[in-house]
Symmetry: C2
Subunit: 391 residues, 2 copies
């Protein structure tokens, strides 16, 4: 019983943590409950039930399946579902009519053939990557509705009436979702994408700002904390999928806040890709924070200042860019930080050229430091590209 | 009209290409058509229709929604749907009974409250990452069924009978999907994961085998072809999501071919993670194939042989490991290749230590070469880790 109690408490904490991490989750759950309760009025309220009858079921189903976390996802599913039902319903009625012309024995055979053909073709089309990204759900509903309408027409003569009632309840359910998701504390996929890109840049900036100190000075007390917070950049490495799905949803959203409809969302994906490329370089750099290969301290000391500056300044530039994205203003000092890091790069290069090391230096001890320097040069280049792409 | 014709031809080619890239897509489409046609017999065949009536609709719906590309995904959705319907149906009937005790006015209010509470709670639970990965669909169906059963109980007195018919048709539809997906040319997510891991290793190996020549020898005729085929490693960088979802599906699959039920699929994820880490290093290395920084040819020449060997041998080791994974045999010569690359690393290190360069050497020109050497050392380390993890 003690163990059970501990587990319950642990579970409760997990729930609270999940809610605290993103309070919009709690609100979203309440919104879904609200929408579902609203649509079930179709059952409770007599005049409405007289009108729609069991078709009210489709409103409930639509709400459960269509209501997603962000406005864009909800709109995308709602529009997909509505349009697909409309088109497939019309085609299904047509197929039913065509089949009914061919007599009692021919009808089920012809209907079965239609259903097979349509299902196979639509399933295949779902494999197109572009279709999968934007219309996957629509095609699913298309297959479903066509099969239901054409096949149940075999049994039900009032097929048109059924199809029409179903469509209207689906539209009602879908609209309820869209309206509630827009009016009650909306979660915009576009805004999330915007923030994600900015936060990712910031994480890289944070790593770079800390890197110089971590690498060149020996460990002290708070080093572990700093190190673990620097590791946050790792999430950037695998952010491609979430960025792409957010961009897909954002394209469905109407204008909101600072974003207009047809905001250049694809541009965010470009910045995201460059950010990720920079993150790969940083990951390679991160390897040198932990490796045990000895480097001679004298060599380190000689380039310490300039390398720290390169990393610090490019980190600051990235943070500035992140802030500029977040507030959609012109970055005030990113350019000057970038210039600083570029001139530090030049200094490093001339330092290397001038042959600062005496001849007896062990080259093996130079290699790690040289690599760090070289990766930093690449990162400064990357930062410049990102800065160009942000404008 | 000419333009239209060209577009139609282009579209047709795209379709053919999509099918040729993976012929299993065509087969999958036909399987979906087959399953759907089979379940629609519930409408056509009189004795079956007498038994199930319009509930046959749920069999059709189940087939459309549950049938996925791989056996694992189909099973996961089918089991999720079946269990969720069972549990939510039972709870829904219970909620209906409880509410009906509270009189005519209280009933809809209490029912609405139940629906709200259940929808909000289940929606929130869906945010748990672990739940989302494996039971997301089940919870969706849970919300749906609970709402439908408890609410439609308000209108329909034969609620138990309806729930039972619905459950049995859903089970029939789900079983049809599972049986067809297993019996007709099955697509195993486990096998796909297995292949993906092997192919990813192979791509890295291919890059490393080519790298030495690309970097150290100047361009010649077929260099462009080789370069573009080497870039295939880039897909490895973003393979995390597909690996994880394949592993999730694979866990649902029964034993098949060389894999038993409860095959250690998580182990593949570990190998996959190491592979990706290696890929990040390779991406940093790839940057040096294209940069324009001059390096003195004399320095290059001095370490050319040993670096080429490091990259070539670690590439061969990776390819051997990939082959060993693919055929689930012990890798025959991966160890010896790994040993070769490690001794090449040692040679490189002693070469660097011995001070091979004369004092007048420009250190700036050394840096890129040193970086390449250092990255190669890291990659050899990575390869060793991968090789350990494969056993």
């Amino acid at each position: 019983p003690e163990k059970l109690k501990a587990k319950v408490v642990e579970f409760a904490w997990k729930i609270i943590k999940l809610g605290q991490d993103d309070p919009r989750r709690v609100i979203h759950s309440l919104k879904v409950g609200l929408a579902l309760t609203l649509v079930s009025i179709f059952y409770y309220y007599q005049p409405l039930y007289d009108n729609f009858g069991v078709s009210a079921m489709w409103a409930v189903m639509t709400v459960v399946v269509v209501f997603e976390f962000s406005v864009g996802a909800t709109l995308s599913k709602g529009v997909n579902r509505g349009l697909a039902t409309l088109v497939a319903g019309a085609l299904g009625v047509g197929a039913h009519h065509l089949a009914s012309l061919s007599g009692e024995i021919g009808e089920p055979i012809l209907l079965g053939f239609f259903v097979f053909l349509q299902a196979a073709a639509s399933t295949f089309i779902r494999f197109f990557p572009k279709v999968k990204a934007r219309y996957d759900y629509g095609l699913l509903i298309f297959i479903l509705t066509f099969a239901l309408v054409s096949v149940s027409g075999f049994r039900d003569d009032k097929i048109l009436e059924v199809a029409q009632k179903r469509l209207s309840t689906i539209i009602i359910g879908g609209s309820a979702c869209v309206i509630i998701s827009i009016l009650v504390c909306p979660v915009w996929a576009g805004q999330d994408l915007h923030n994600l890109i900015a936060v990712n840049l910031q994480k890289l900036g944070h790593f770079l700002e800390g890197f110089g100190n971590e690498y060149f000075t020996s460990e002290d007390g708070d080093s572990k904390d700093a190190k673990s917070s620097m590791q946050e950049y790792k999430t950037v490495l695998n952010s491609k999928n979430s960025e792409e799905s957010l961009a897909n949803f954002a394209k469905w959203e109407p204008g909101h806040g600072r974003f207009q409809f047809r905001h250049p969302w694809n541009h965010y994906l470009k910045v995201g890709n460059l950010t990720r490329q920079c993150a790969y370089q940083i990951d390679a750099l991160n390897g040198y924070l932990n490796t045990q290969i000895q480097t001679s301290p004298e060599i380190r000391n000689k380039i310490q200042e300039v390398c720290t500056e390169m990393s610090m300044e490019s980190g600051k530039a990235l943070k500035e860019l992140a802030m500029a994205i977040k507030t959609t203003t012109q970055p005030s000092s990113a350019d000057s930080h970038l210039e600083n890091s570029k001139s530090a790069t030049k200094n490093l290069k001339s330092l290397l050229k001038s042959g600062i090391w005496d001849d007896s230096t062990d080259l093996l001890a130079v290699v790690p430091v040289a690599t760090v320097a070289s990766l930093l040069i690449e990162i400064v280049n990357c930062t410049e590209k990102i800065s160009e792409s942000v404008y």
